[in-house]
Structures are given as structure tokens and as C-alpha cells.
Assembly symmetry: C2
Homo-oligomer: 416 residues x 2
């Protein structure tokens, strides 16, 4: 698919994250104003709350769904309403829109640079998966040796655990280095101390846009996913190593999970669908993908030391996943587990085959044994206080791209 | 402490779960009426929503907090408001209340038997712990042998995992036997089938009544707990065994968690405080209990086959816990994890030293190897379709008891 041209010229630049093809949904404020729902286009944010209130563009003729600081009520409306709204907004922003419409949009929009961005949706619950084969193999090799790297269930189940929705924050929120129980292999007893192995995890997050109350097929699951964000699941590796047996990660993953501020819709990503890889062992029927349900999304991690410039420490792609979000969601409902609008599913760390494709410092520094060197000559094994981590991603079209905006977090020192 | 006498005679019976000393909070409806907040006393439910609307008893002079089908807004008000409301309601229901007040209460109350009970609060997130030493030892012995029964971290950390809030249901809700991936030790590959080892877990649930945004001391954590319910964490043992490595239980625990319908407040349980046991190894400072923060609550499990009468298959006590809910909550916040009003913390299965003190069929039947025999001559290893499980509990005072009401679930056959 080619670029859809907008009358807003900034949206037509090849490097712009937010062309007319994208139209991602976020929540913004200007100065001390209230939080409003907005749609990014070029270098502006269209005030969707304002358009609704003025009766210019309504998602639901009978009820206001955008008079709230989140897109959950809009998602509740369902796929037909999502599609209709996107079509209407696309027409209003397309080159062919008449001048009166253009004036209405200009009146109801602000510059991206003057706006503060907030959580785009209320997270109902957060689930995190472990579905990149390279990541699972790397971590398994470090923890259990190369021969036992992949757990026996891994090729059969999209392994996941429930995370903590209350700790999900929007890009730009500072993250405080956590305390926790830590016991090294040579320590006689644990101590309570700041994490010395605080890490990032580069993931994609899928947002559930329709509630369900029983098992979903993979196709139904795909249809219920509203959109995607980039996600950084901050992880304290030393806390994790001591706590995780037998019930899994808990406080090591509860400090913060950062998401990018714009929900990029499944509709915008449609041209970039791709298949999960061929299976080594066949999947059970309830997990079989009837078509391509993964996406080709280029991803990278930038690290900026407190006094320094950014260096990109890893590049990978969402197409490295062994399981798609649709497969993860289908598995999630297999027990009858009810899902709700606003449920967030993390893909798991996305690593590729090469060292520079790894999505966590644990893997990039091979458990801290092989520090990576920054441009400044500084080295890193794990994240240091003052470091800013920026995760970015986009799908590359023909002369345009569908971008996510950055998922940024700066690490503050542990509490005194 | 002795019985506080009420003018409502049914509340003064020694076997009544809901004397004036209790005053638990629930949500009820009568016929097709809307859901309302209510307080149980004797054989009646006081319509707290109605008392608020009529201006007779208000928790907040400026805002309605009980015009909703949950107690969350009330909890938001904080400890001082909780205490003031309880004191006012106690005075209105005490023997000394004047007749005009009694008439108001009678007007704004219904019979327990004519009401349907609903979820008493909105569950924000659900966390489940593993803090009964007998339970952890029994399960560990079955899975890893007696010498490795307790994981090395167990005596240092109240081990827990995040559960699924969307699956929490109120007593009386039928529970459908789940499907899931199952692979026995002798199976070459997994299959997708109904769980054949579907089980219960007898637990107490602690309800967080105040939000927090950083680490809490054990004392602060204790103060933030609003009240308690009885909790049954339905568990599919065969799904659990195959899925739980390395990230913990997921779909095996996502079908349903049933809670009893009344929130018994920490205030009502105050006379029954007791200490956790002496420590084999000292706890780190952040987990040390400054005083008794556990409760003496007698618990039992009744099993009723589809065509049969109930038999009590286990009796235990909440005082068997190695960690209190206050310690669990303090640990939960140690990483900086934000907590919200309505967070629910399951204690973990509560087992005592003897066989008949075990809180799960997994332990009672020793992994299915030692079936238990019911009065009818039938045997059970795990739950069968049509079985009704009723978990009950009360704290025993001098001539009165503070009861929870039953936590009941009937098992329906798996979906076809």
C-alpha cells in the first residue's frame, strides 16, 4: 500500500511516524487543561473529544464515548464502530477534504510539541508472555545450560504470567530503581537492597478491545485486538532470580512497565501482516493460526547516559515472535478466563538471531559477563541511574511508515 | 469481648454469623431491583444505599459513596470514615437505640432470605500467595520429595503470583470445568482436554482499602487492609503441572476464584488478632511484624455430591499461616508496586498439621493416590461434576461469633 496523502503536509513526509495511514489514538493535555482523547496526524493532534462534543465527528450517535481521559469506552463500541470512525476521520484528513472541513480540524487540533501525553487507555489487567524463541533460548541457556534452554512446554504453549496493571505507566514517566530481596549464589542469607541488575525488556503490547467470557478461537482473538503499543517491561534480574521459583516473577516485574503513548490500531497495521515461523512440532488445534496474524515492525533500543548522547544498542523486529498476540489471547481464554476491554498483553522480550538483535540487557551483556561499550567509551551490563531508555518502532510502507512514537523511561536512583 | 446486643433479636443468637459485633458489608438485590450496598445483621440486610439516599446515615457528608453496586468508593474515604460509619451504624442497631431509629432501619432493610447477593466490591487486581507452611510442605513433598519440599526462598519471602481479577466471582456462581493443555508424565505430546484434576483451595482473601504508591511498612500495610472474605481459588492441577515452569500458574488458576459475599471488616476481627508462628530463620526488617496481625478464624470445607448430603471434608484455621496479610501486602509493595482500592490478596491454601486440616483435595487425597470416602460410600480424589463445595469460617467470641457466610461453588461439566 502507498501513502495516503493528507492536506496536512507534515503528514506526507516519508519519515513521519503519523501519516494518514496511521491515525493512532492517544490522550493529551495542553498546559493545565483537562485530559482529552486525540488522534496523531503529522505534527498535530486532532482533538477527538472536541470533535465529538461539537457534533462534527461522533463514534456513537447516541452517547459520548470520548468525554473521558481514555479510549476504553470507544473500544467498547466494537469493530464496526472502530472501522466507521476511522473511515470518517480518514476522509476529513485526506487531500480531497473540502476547506470547511479542514478549518474545523484545524480549530480542533493542537501542535504535538505543545501537548503532554498520558496513558491512552485504562489498563484492566496486564499479562506478559515469553514468546520469542531467541529470547527464551538465550535466557534458558544462561539459567539452565544450552541443552535445557527451552522448557519442554515452550513449543506447545505461549507461556505467560499475569503482571501488574497498576504499574503500567506512559512513556516519559521516570522509573525508580526498586529495592527487593536479593541473594547471590554465594550469599548465606538474602538482603533487602536496591536492585543491581535492573533491566529493560523490549516488547510489543496488544490491547484487547472487546470483552469475552469463554474460550476464543485464534480468529476471534485476532478480531478482538484493537491495537498495539511498544512496551518496556522493566525487570530486576537479581530480585527475579531469588523469588521466581516456584510461582514465577512477582516483585521483580512490579516496579513499572512503560508503554508508548499512541495506540496504533490493528487496522493501520493491516498491510504489514506476516506469519509466525514454521513449527518444529505441530500446535494443538486451538492454537493454529488460520492466516498471517503477526506484523513486520522494525524495533530498536536507544540508551542515553545521564551526560551523553544516545546510542542504539539493539535492533530487532516483531516478526521474530514464535506466537502472535492472537494465539496468546486464544490461549489466555482457553480455561474460560474472562477478558475485558483494556486488557494488555505483552509479547515477551523480542530477540532476533544475532547478538545486536537482543531485546534485553541480560542477553546483550550475557548475564553481565560481556559488557557492551557505548560511543562514549562507557560500558553497560545493566541499566545505571540516570540512563534514559527509548524504545522505538515502525512498520515500513512504500514511501511512508506507520510509527509508534517512542517508549521512554529515565531511571532514577533507588529511594533512600 | 462479649456479644453486643441488638434490638433485632435474630442478631443475638450465639450461632448467628452476623451479630452486632460483625456488621459485614455486601451488595444485594431483591427481585429485579437494582443492586444496592447492604450490611448484614441477624437475619436481615440493612439497605445502606437507601439510608444514605434518605440522609439517615451518610459515610461522607458531601458525596454519595454508596449509590453504586460496590463498596470501593466507601473504602476510598479512609480509616477515619470507616470507623465513624461503623460506630454510627452500631449505635442505630444496638439495644439502646430509640424506637424511631429502629423504625427507620426496619423501613430500610430486607430479609436475608429474599435477597440475592452479588460481588461486594470491584476487584482491581488479584494476587495469590502461598503462605501456609503445611500446604507448601505437602505440595513440595509431592512434587519434589520431602527433602526439597520447601523452596529455599520460602522462609524469607511470602511467595506469591499475580492472579486474574476478571475471574473472581461471588459465592453461588456456578463454575465450569475448564479445558486446557494437559500432558501426563508418560504422554509423548500434550492434548487439549477437560481438566481431570480440578481442585479447590481454601483461602482467606484480604481487601486493600487504601491506595499506595510506594513501599509500605508492615504496620502501614495492616492499616490499609479494609476487611476479609473467604476465598476458593479453583485450580486445575493437571493443567498447572504442565504449564507452570518457568513462569508460574496461569490458565490453571484463571477459570474462577470464588469469594464469600460479605466483607468482614478488620474492625470486626480486631478481638481475634493472633501472631504468626515463631520464625525458624529471622525475617528481614521490612517483613517483621510489630504485633499480632493474623486472626483466629475457624474454617471448614463441605462437599455435597450432586445427589447427596454434605460432608465436611476438612477443618483448619487461618492462624496456621506463616505470613499475615499485612506481611504479604508489605512485600507486595516492596518494589514500589502501586496498590489500589479493591486489590484482593489471597492467603494461599490454608492447611494445618493433620490430614483432616488440609485445604485442598490435592493434599487431602495426596495427589489422587489416597481417595477420601464420603458418607455415601462414594470416593473423591478431585472435584466431580455436580459437586457443590462450600467453604465456611467464623471467629468465635464469648457467646457470639463473627461469621463470613458461605463461599459456595457448584461444578458444571466442561463445555462440549
Amino acid at each position: 500500500m502507498a501513502l495516503r496523502r493528507s492536506w496536512l503536509q507534515s503528514a506526507n513526509a516519508p519519515e513521519c511516524d503519523f501519516p494518514l495511514n496511521n491515525l493512532p489514538y492517544g490522550v493529551f493535555s495542553v498546559g493545565d487543561s483537562e485530559l482529552r482523547c486525540g488522534v496523531a496526524i503529522g505534527d498535530r493532534i486532532v482533538d477527538a473529544t472536541g470533535l465529538e462534543a461539537a457534533g462534527i465527528l461522533r463514534a456513537d450517535p447516541d452517547a459520548d464515548v470520548l468525554d473521558a481521559p481514555y479510549w476504553n469506552d470507544f473500544m467498547e463500541l466494537g469493530r464496526e464502530a472502530w472501522s466507521h470512525y476511522r473511515t470518517s476521520l480518514t476522509a476529513m484528513l485526506a487531500e480531497s477534504a473540502d476547506e470547511a472541513v479542514q478549518d474545523q480540524i484545524i480549530t480542533h487540533s493542537v501542535s504535538l510539541t505543545e501537548a503532554a501525553l498520558h496513558m491512552p487507555f485504562r489498563v484492566s489487567e496486564f499479562t506478559d508472555f515469553y514468546s520469542s524463541r531467541h529470547h527464551a533460548t538465550n535466557v534458558g541457556t544462561m539459567f539452565r545450560g544450552a541443552e535445557n534452554a527451552l522448557p519442554p512446554n515452550w513449543l506447545h504453549i505461549p507461556i505467560g504470567y499475569n503482571g501488574r496493571a497498576s504499574s503500567v505507566v506512559v512513556s516519559g514517566t521516570p522509573v525508580t530503581r526498586p529495592h527487593g530481596q536479593i541473594k547471590g549464589p554465594d550469599d548465606a542469607t538474602p538482603r533487602f537492597a536496591p536492585s543491581a541488575r535492573f533491566d529493560i525488556e523490549l516488547e510489543m503490547g496488544a490491547i484487547v478491545g472487546q470483552a469475552s467470557d469463554g474460550p476464543l478461537s485464534v480468529t476471534q482473538a485476532f478480531d478482538n485486538i484493537f491495537g498495539y503499543v511498544i512496551l518496556n517491561d522493566w525487570s530486576a534480574r537479581d530480585i527475579q532470580a531469588w523469588e521466581y521459583q516456584p510461582l514465577g516473577p512477582f516483585q521483580s516485574k512490579a516496579t513499572a512497565t512503560t508503554i508508548s503513548p499512541w495506540i496504533v490500531t490493528a487496522a493501520a497495521l493491516e498491510p504489514f501482516r506476516t506469519s509466525t515461523p514454521a513449527r518444529e512440532t505441530p500446535l494443538l488445534d486451538y492454537l493454529t493460526e488460520p492466516g498471517p496474524m503477526l506484523y513486520d515492525i522494525a524495533l530498536e533500543i536507544g540508551l542515553t547516559p545521564e551526560a551523553g548522547t544516545e546510542i542504539v544498542i539493539a535492533r530487532t523486529n516483531y516478526n521474530e515472535m514464535y506466537y502472535s498476540a492472537a494465539q496468546q489471547l486464544a490461549h489466555h481464554t482457553s480455561s474460560g478466563c474472562p477478558m475485558r476491554v483494556g486488557d494488555l498483553l505483552g509479547s515477551g522480550t523480542i530477540s532476533g538471531p544475532e547478538r545486536h538483535n537482543r531485546g534485553a540487557l541480560l542477553e546483550l551483556s550475557w548475564g553481565g559477563k560481556e559488557p557492551i561499550t557505548l560511543d562514549t567509551g562507557e560500558t553497560r551490563t545493566f541499566v545505571e541511574d540516570g540512563d534514559t531508555l527509548a524504545l522505538r518502532g515502525h512498520a515500513q510502507g512504500d514511501g511512508y511508515r506507520v510509527g509508534f512514537g517512542a517508549c521512554v523511561g529515565m531511571v532514577r536512583p533507588a529511594r533512600q
